[in-house]
Symmetry: C2
Subunit: 340 residues, 2 copies
């Protein structure tokens, strides 16, 4: 079955993905950190039962005992944004509900009893929310949630209290980054209850110009208005990015040279680190976005980003690999994908 990241959505040239996540806990059961192993196993069982009769068409759900997975299988799920790193680190008594297209993932016994997450390609927050909401209702019908009339959904961490909703989008912002406008954007969105941060790399250097924009406020607001707020800001960021890219286009030759050299490197290199891949994919994506490169589909770039991380490469070969072995397979994978 086609994975979510192999498809394209709205504004896919700038928006890599949209994600909605709901944090939920079952009524009259203590939060996870107070539970015994037995109690956690019972929650896994109950969630599985609650979802037993759900109909998602071809997109079947799998119920995965996290401790049955190898290290690289768990971290591959992190790299594909299906689970949190915290969930991968401690697999004991944890269950993952995962759809065939990897777009739906429900972490059971993460920080909260239940974390429902839906991922989509492009700017598709409402579509993701719809599915999330449906799953939320199905589970809630069998397992009543811990809910307070005044506070809303009760969550293990107070930062999620209320809607328990985190909505986020992954954005490719090379224009805003290289024109230095990104820092201004950062302070502007924080005033609107949002936060923006780099997704790859450490410290000030953001690898591949990929940023995550997400809501911070969960109290005193409805789920729908939180999503609407984020959606509106994203639309403005897209506009700003387009304007910034027009500024870059003033030195058309240098820009074309940069994006095509990256394409040449991706198509020809025999050894490629993860860092170099992310940087070259970023340049090629910019080239596609600006209409310079016409024969590389955006979804191939998304797929390469999602599948060629450290664990993703090991998963391809189904074994642990040294960094040198990974760099070799990564380069080969990229070449084969881009050369058709």
């Amino acid at each position: 079955m086609t994975k979510w990241y192999q498809t394209q959505g709205e504004y896919s040239d700038i928006v890599l993905s949209s994600r909605i996540r709901l944090a939920r806990n079952i009524k009259n059961i203590p939060f996870n950190n107070k539970l015994t192993s037995e109690q956690r196993k019972q929650i896994n069982k109950s969630v599985k039962q609650a979802l037993a009769n759900i109909n998602l068409g071809d997109n079947k759900l799998k119920f995965i005992d996290m401790s049955s997975l190898s290290d690289f299988e768990r971290y591959e799920l992190v790299e594909k944004h299906s689970i949190s790193i915290e969930f991968a680190k401690n697999p004991k008594d944890r269950m993952l509900v995962l759809s065939e297209d990897l777009g739906i993932s429900i972490m059971v016994n993460e920080e909260d009893h239940i974390r429902i997450q839906v991922l989509n390609s492009g700017l598709e927050l409402n579509k993701a929310y719809e599915i999330c909401n449906m799953l939320d209702d199905v589970i809630n019908e069998v397992l009543p949630y811990a809910y307070d009339e005044k506070l809303g959904y009760l969550t293990s961490c107070p930062s999620n209290l209320g809607t328990g909703l985190r909505a986020s989008v992954m954005l490719h912002l090379p224009g805003l980054e290289s024109t230095g406008l990104i820092s201004r954007l950062s302070s502007a969105v924080s005033k609107l209850g949002l936060t923006i941060r780099g997704t790859y790399g450490e410290g000030s250097k953001v690898l591949g110009s990929v940023y995550q924009l997400s809501n911070q406020i969960t109290l005193g607001i409805t789920e729908k208005s939180a999503i609407e707020n984020l959606q509106n800001v994203v639309m403005q960021v897209i506009e700003s990015e387009k304007r910034a890219q027009e500024m870059l286009a003033k030195d058309k030759t240098a820009l074309e040279d940069k994006v095509y050299r990256s394409l040449g490197t991706l198509k020809y290199a025999r050894v490629m680190s993860s860092k170099e891949l992310v940087e070259n994919i970023s340049n090629v994506r910019l080239g596609v976005c600006m209409g310079i490169i016409k024969d590389v589909p955006i979804n191939i770039l998304n797929e390469l980003t999602m599948t060629t991380g450290t664990a993703g490469i090991c998963a391809m070969e189904n074994k642990e690999l040294s960094p040198a072995q990974r760099d070799l397979i990564r380069a080969k994978t990229v070449r084969e994908k881009l050369n058709g």
Copy 2:
């Protein structure tokens, strides 16, 4: 008509070209630096007459008044090794006899009255000498040379006295260079009356690993034995280079990565300096020589090297161009040639 550098000769993977040059002066006429403009013009006329009835098949000779050429036309001939830089600098009263395939060039009124040169692709010293010798005889029949029974041919500079012959080959030696064996080779060949030096770049850094190996001795030796001596040493250098390349092949992955990245850059870059071109062509040539790259013919690499210098690019557009304009056209030329 196909140019000499568009063809391939013996050992073309390592030997770029072979060159024979004869320095000759006409009997009873002072050396060039003592001549009037009138006398020089008379020499031009005499050489033209001497060659009027020569039959070289389709490879017709053109008689070019050097002062009729633009700056970039003259320096294009230098870049293609048809004439010396000294000949290009002062075009007044000088004539060039040039064959259609650019393989034969006779500089009239250079340092000596007549300099006959034949260039071939690959290791083809004997073939070049044969043609040189034939041209030498044809001219000598009409214009008796200054010749001394004891000293041989008399030349303007004593370093050419005797045979007046300079034989040289251009070699691509990335293996000997990167294993550090090139300096040992340099002292070894000097004991055999030969000299080796880098052809591009300044000081110790030789661009593109291209070296010229040539004879130094012209006195007390026949033309044929000078050529034979050079030919023998070249064969040994080729063997050493092959062994050095086998050493490089021990880190096959790094080598493949380097040569393919260069191919990718040549095929995709939109801006390329002359220096970068020479370096990338060198890597690709190494890849072809070692059987890593199979779909790039050596003669295309030779042609790109010969035609994309500063003056060559201007000649393509038939006008003076800025460095930025040249880098753009150079990249385009390379792309088109390599992408078929």
